[in-house]
Symmetry: C2
């Protein structure tokens, strides 16, 4: 299985050079990997540029070889819980081991335990894109390794983030208030979970400043039952009382979009009960089925009730850089904040979640902390510079805008649009294959590159049996190692999710995946 | 300045090969970087293994060259706010640009805007370590690009994290309850800010479950005034009322360690007032001056008042892998959670913050959310597998244990200990230089590799003037570009922080830094 992950000739030479150099070289400071070092003359030099060059090249080849052979691995790992514990030592080694030995362990012990997200046959969850440009960007981020918590800690890290988020805002045709030139602006968070937590805290504190800080127990959050679990987690962390989280039922009558009249009713009821509606989360492209909430109608209700309106477009926001899909975020002008994950569709390696807010001061008011040891001239001359530490949960942060900037420049916007369009086209192909087969049905209309489908109930129309069979199919397909899909539940039906978006996926992979699914289904039906 | 960052011969050849290949090759699917692609035959292949190889090698050389020339850059960037806005375009390019052009922009536009954290002359804040092993680890994390939110999403990512955190716990000689075999365990967070937030939420929810959820306004947090601002931020996010945050004064009489009697008094007063003490944060190595709180005494008070006791050893925890420094976390056995940042001293690139808890269920109770689309066989057979999504704020997570594992194996524990000891030795050298100069004084005894010092007041003994002069010195030194130091305030005194820990720092850099500081000071004194 790992045949072609053997070191190639060039790398092998590199390593031999490195090894012999390490043994023969007279200058002890150049031998940091050697076990034979002793005494003060042999001071460790953990960041030797020539060593980084030699072993960096070796690692590039290792990773390139991984991608070359990626289709040979079972997509979902087939290991059993605890497998690694049984094959790794109980404690860290006292003395250095060789790169060769460690890479060999990666091949034989780690790779079999991976679920290969970059495999062209990975159709589960939503994609997490890797790309050559994203990889180069991450290398550079890691190489420079600066921590840009405040402007002065690395001005370029802050300024590039502002610029690139403005670029993206323009691509998405977001309203001007989200751009950096006014009181709005964008920031890179790790993931959509952090993004929604940040804006919820900002909204919570804003309302508590006006109604009094003991009113927390009166604050109410609204969303549809299709909203990502990140919202529930944010509520838990923000201390919103569970009974004040209105999870509004959505069903097939709206393709699982939130119904504004349900929202309006809930809000009115809560106000009548003396509660305070303060946060509404709208979805563009839910995780279960890519449902799109009616933003315009929701925004109106949010505005007339002075609620913070957050739009979570973590997945589908990517497609909205294409003019023909921009319609799905129509109404974003009524939102207070908007979020999309560049790692889901824009070829930028995880993590990279883009958050825009109209009122940056609501965020910085909630998140700023200015101890003496972080004070500096630039930050104290207020308003002149942005200190992103005040826009996020943590203090420290990586220079993530660098990879997004490199992706945008090395691929160009047109290529990125076509990349997304291609996945949607492939999803249409899959959708058609499913709908032509009488044993299957497509559940909810496909909008982006996710197809929700299932095996139809058999003669007795027993939904429970049907659910069990679909779960059996899911397990059979995934256990084959040939592809990996995931599932969800919609109105009580177990639904299979076929999500296209891995960078290497082509039409042949989609067709082959369908063949495997059909075969496993036939086998189940014959049983 | 950027002379040796010019492409080397080998890379240039690589690039030329790539360019001519892209233009001449007949198979259009192999030309994803070309602007001339059109039509369906030219489908984009954003993760072409050979392209990754070619450009990956190019990037390795770029980064190796950066390290080779890192001393030629001003350590703290000398750019003015807004510099980048003036030299970058207003929008993303429609069509691909070449790697060469982008790297040229990195050299001419980004590098001048960086504060070079990896420079051997970076002595500000606390270090953020880079290393060859850490770099290789990050490359591999980025290359594999798996998202291990639950066990099944990549079993190796979860299992390696458990194993490596156990390794570290053993190196630190943490009590058994922090190891994974019982109900405790370790987890990698992004930073110490996330770590303290996670445990505070866990503690908050645990106490609210027993006293009722409307008691939030009664909850009280305790720490010394030397505690990192991350605690204040965590309190803000967790909704702890600001007037319930007891910030206990610490002064030079205890070298800025918390005084247990002050804590006991505050706790008693709060209980009498009907409040509920629930969270105590103890420090091992504060950010201002590496103060170490008396953990044993604090733990006793925490225990007898049923408070969650968190120990923040973000910086100094690293040194505690050396037996001679282990004493500074004596008393950790009384803690409920313990945190240290491997990126501060253990040669693991940011981000990588290690958190251990004795009661994992307190954490998962607060952070778990289990939507249908994440359910899977392994997780449902409870207790068998760990799903780290329930141990952190976000859902998604990178495979960060991989780099820590590689660092531990490629350097070995003894080398890491000596690496830390060497920085402490260099700090002693600097401390001596300072104390031998009558214009300067060391403030607070040095314990680890941070030296807190200042210019002494002149004849009139005016502390205010002295503060101004030290701030002038700080600015003069940092504006020179020759080194970067930071400052803090202790008992109203402006204090300069000389923090040693960059991977390339040697004795000559420390001595040269002192020379610059002395020269700038003489100049100020002559004025």
């Amino acid at each position: 299985m790992h045949g072609s992950l053997q070191p190639r000739a060039r790398s092998e030479r590199c390593l031999q050079v490195a090894a012999s150099t390490a043994e023969n070289r007279q200058d002890p400071e150049r031998r940091p990997w050697s076990e034979r070092e002793k005494g003060s003359r042999n001071m460790l030099r953990p960041m030797d540029s020539e060593q980084l060059r030699e072993y960096g090249h070796r690692m590039v080849d290792f990773i390139a070889d991984y991608y070359k052979t990626i289709e040979s691995f079972p997509v979902r790992s087939l290991v059993q819980p605890g497998y690694l514990h049984n094959i790794l030592p109980d404690s860290a080694p006292d003395h250095p081991e060789t790169v060769e030995k460690v890479l060999d362990d990666v091949k034989t012990k780690i790779l079999p335990g991976l679920t290969h997200w970059q495999s062209p046959n990975f159709f589960a969850y939503y994609p997490s894109n890797s790309s050559v440009a994203g990889f180069l960007g991450e290398m550079l981020i890691t190489g420079l390794n600066v921590i840009g918590f405040s402007w002065v800690a690395s001005p370029a890290a802050t300024e590039l983030e502002i610029i690139v988020l403005d670029w993206l805002a323009k691509l998405l045709n977001l309203p001007e208030q989200f751009l950096s030139k006014g009181k709005g602006g964008g920031v890179i968070q790790g993931s959509a979970s952090e993004a929604v937590l940040v804006v919820m805290i900002a909204a919570r504190d804003k309302v508590l400043r006006s109604v009094g800080k003991n009113a927390l127990e009166k604050l109410v959050v609204y969303s549809s039952d299709q909203t990502h679990s990140a919202l529930q987690k944010a509520c838990q962390i923000a201390g919103i009382h569970p009974e004040n989280c209105r999870v509004l039922k959505a069903d097939s009558s709206t393709n699982y979009a939130m119904r504004p009249e349900l929202l309006q009713e809930a809000v009115s009821r809560d106000i009548e009960a003396g509660l305070i509606p303060f946060f509404l989360c709208g979805n563009v492209g839910t995780t279960s089925s890519t449902a799109v909430d009616p933003l315009v109608a929701l925004g109106k209700i949010a505005k007339s009730n002075e609620m913070w309106f957050h739009v979570d477009a973590a997945y589908a926001g990517n497609a909205c850089i294409c003019p023909e899909y921009r319609q799905y975020i129509d109404g974003v002008e009524t939102a207070d904040s908007f979020n999309m994950n560049a790692y889901k569709g824009l070829l930028t390696n995880f993590d990279c979640s883009l958050l825009w807010v109209k009122d940056q001061y609501a965020v910085t008011e909630a998140f700023s902390a200015n101890p003496e040891y972080l004070k500096n001239k630039a930050s104290q001359e207020n308003l002149v510079v942005v200190d992103y530490k005040d826009w996020q949960i943590a203090l420290s942060r990586r220079f993530r805008s660098l990879k997004l900037w490199m992706v945008l420049r090395l691929y160009g916007v047109e290529t990125l649009k076509n990349y997304i369009r291609n996945h949607i086209k492939l999803a249409k192909v899959f959708e058609q294959l499913v709908s032509q087969d009488s044993n299957f049905e497509v559940i909810t209309p496909r909008i982006f590159s996710l197809v929700c489908f299932r095996m139809v109930p058999t003669d007795d129309n027993d939904e429970k049996k049907c659910n069990v069979r679909n779960q059996e199919l899911l397990e059979a397909v995934n256990s084959s190692g040939k592809l990996f899909i995931s599932h969800t539940a919609l109105s009580g039906k177990i639904v299979l999710r076929f999500s296209i978006g891995a960078p290497l996926t082509e039409e042949k992979h989609v067709k082959e995946a369908w063949k495997v699914i059909k075969e496993e289904a036939s086998y189940l039906l014959r049983k």
